[in-house]
């Protein structure tokens, strides 16, 4: 490769790294500023760092509660997905039963369902079940909407489990469920971790579902909280920026620490 083309390639890589980072830098910058006018000063980080905006939204605008709610809702949905999708994925990958392909097709169709198109009816159903304005009322449909992808991914993962291990377990007299928990689960642990991360990521980012289901300020997750900050307290860019960072920082940390699992989950099924 020539030197110039190598330099050019570096430039392209860096340019798009900037594209990713500049907006993030901007929101970090805004969160550390107190001026009403967002970017009137120099575009360098202020020093010493002032975390007044964070303290304010965390303690005064209810973001400590929003954070707990996001955590509960995302954990709940993730748990629910983890309790159901691996079992189903295993059945679709390794077992034979009547109607299997039709059922799988039914789940597959769910991959494309847009949340806005079910919310119209979901609201009334949740009301009937007494789940409106509760965290469970977000968790259940959230998990259900995540199932198609999760089951698809689990089926792919489960297919890699060697059949002879399953057979050996059966010969040892294990029931099907025991085989699943004692033989299959330990083998597919990395896949399960990936699924849990993806499910958590998507639940954490969901906006429309909790927006519609929850009215109570004390039950709202971060996404809804951050969106309602806009225009509600006059111009408070610092506060909104701090709120935004609270809303995405945990996921960024999780992603950076567990990058490999994340990537495995995201690419599952896409590339074979």
């Amino acid at each position: 490769m020539t030197r110039t083309s190598r330099v050019f390639q570096h430039a392209v890589l860096l340019l798009f790294a900037l594209y990713a980072l500049v907006p993030v830098y901007l929101v970090v910058l805004a969160s550390l500023r107190s001026e009403a006018d967002l970017f009137s000063g120099p575009l360098t980080l202020p020093w010493p760092i002032d975390i007044g905006n964070f303290r304010r939204v965390w303690f005064e605008s209810g973001f400590s509660q929003f954070f707990v709610n996001s955590l509960m809702i995302s954990t709940g949905s993730t748990l629910l997905v983890m309790l159901t999708a691996p079992l189903a994925g295993f059945a679709f990958a390794k077992l034979k039963f009547p109607g299997k392909e039709i059922l799988f097709g039914l789940f597959l169709a769910g991959l494309v369902v847009p949340a806005p198109s079910v919310i119209v009816a979901l609201y009334g159903d949740l009301q009937m079940l007494g789940l409106l304005n509760t965290r469970i009322g977000v968790i259940l449909p959230q998990a259900a909407l995540l199932l198609p992808f999760s089951i698809f991914m689990m089926r792919t993962v489960m297919e890699d489990v060697p059949d002879d291990l399953l057979e050996a377990a059966t010969i040892d007299g294990a029931t099907l469920f025991e085989t699943f928990t004692k033989v299959v689960v330990p083998i597919v642990k990395p896949g399960l971790l990936s699924l849990a991360l993806i499910a958590f990521l998507f639940s954490w980012q969901e906006y429309l579902l909790p927006l519609v289901v929850i009215q109570d300020e004390t039950l709202k997750p971060l996404t809804v909280g951050a969106a309602t900050l806009q225009g509600r307290y006059g111009v408070d860019y610092g506060g909104i920026a701090a709120a935004g960072i609270i809303a995405f920082a945990p996921i960024v940390v999780l992603f950076l620490v567990l990058q490999r699992s994340f990537v495995r989950g995201l690419t599952a099924g896409a590339v074979k």
Partner: protein, 301 residues
């Protein structure tokens, strides 16, 4: 997430007889899915056959709500924007993703890890927050974009990016691309890494430059990945909502109106549940068609 690739079922023969237990394995997921996805879809389909007044059923109206579609200019405008969004996404994030991935693939594992994490970073940010950030970048008064243009002496190019007819949808799409191209890089990267390295080595020995290897090895061999991402992008282009809602709410005028915002307004703001349901059914039909097509195409490739 959409990942519609055919699997090769390898039934585990030992359990062929065990159909009841197998169903029990599927049952919890099925119950949850039916209760909160399948049934609501059927309900929405039923809603669309009635006329509604402010959230209450007025009368059975047959296909009346669907007839309205033909004369609803906003619906067609929105649909057009969804289509433009899909095309823009195919042009920009997908191509960038492919180029970045093929450059990155030749770097050290550490560089790959670092850079792909950077590119993917925006995807970890909830779209609501992404919308707020990009709203600031495009803001006509203090927006960063106008500020930078001013600095480099191009201040006359500045504008109210999200508030002008010509630039609104494009500007919004650049924000959407921001959250998507990193995903494309990841997918392409893992596809490239599964290509037999000897192909590249052979090509290099024959004197092929980077450009030629890209053109004659990477691009053709990643056809199915591109297809997957393209269909994924098309489906996402039909479904996206958060980003528009927190930035422009479909404005200025109808310039960034998409199907989901039209549904949201018809449902929540006008209270016409019947027509909102009909719009939802149409949206669902479109995404299911794209989804079905993808499944078929990807199964064949």
């Amino acid at each position: 997430m959409v990942a519609v690739f055919p699997c090769h079922p390898q039934p585990w023969d030992m359990f062929m007889y065990n159909s009841r237990q197998a169903l029990l394995f599927v049952l919890p997921a099925l119950l949850l899915y039916v209760a909160f996805v399948a049934v609501p879809i059927l309900q929405v389909a039923a809603y669309s056959l009635f006329s509604w007044d402010n959230g209450s059923i007025k009368a059975f109206s047959g296909l009346g709500n669907y007839q309205r579609l033909t004369s609803d200019g906003v619906f067609w405008t929105a649909l057009g924007h969804n289509a433009i969004w899909a095309v823009l996404t195919l042009c920009f994030p997908l191509m960038i993703g492919l180029v970045l991935a093929s450059i990155l693939a030749e770097r050290s594992p550490r560089t790959i890890r670092l850079m792909s994490a950077l590119y993917f970073l925006p995807r970890t940010i909830p779209l609501v927050v992404a919308g707020i950030i990009w709203g600031w970048i495009y803001n006509p008064i203090f927006g960063l974009l106008n500020y930078v243009l001013d600095l480099i002496g191009l201040g006359s190019l500045g504008g109210a990016w999200l508030a002008e007819s010509g630039s609104a949808l494009l500007s919004l799409n650049a924000a959407g691309a921001w959250t998507f191209y990193g995903f494309c890089v990841l997918i392409y990267l893992s596809a490239i890494q599964s290509i037999d390295p000897s192909l590249y080595e052979a090509a290099s020995l024959d004197g092929a430059g980077w450009g030629q290897r890209f053109r004659f090895i990477t691009v053709p061999l990643l056809k199915s990945t591109t297809l997957f991402l393209g269909l994924y992008a098309a489906i996402e282009a039909m479904r996206f909502f958060d980003l528009v809602w927190v930035t422009t709410q479909g404005g200025p005028g109808y310039d960034t109106e998409v199907l989901t915002t039209h549904i949201y307004k018809t449902f929540f703001l006008v209270g016409d549940f019947g027509y909102a349901a009909a719009l939802s059914v149409v949206l669902l039909a479109i995404v299911l068609t794209i989804g079905g097509l993808s499944y078929r195409i990807l199964s064949q490739s």
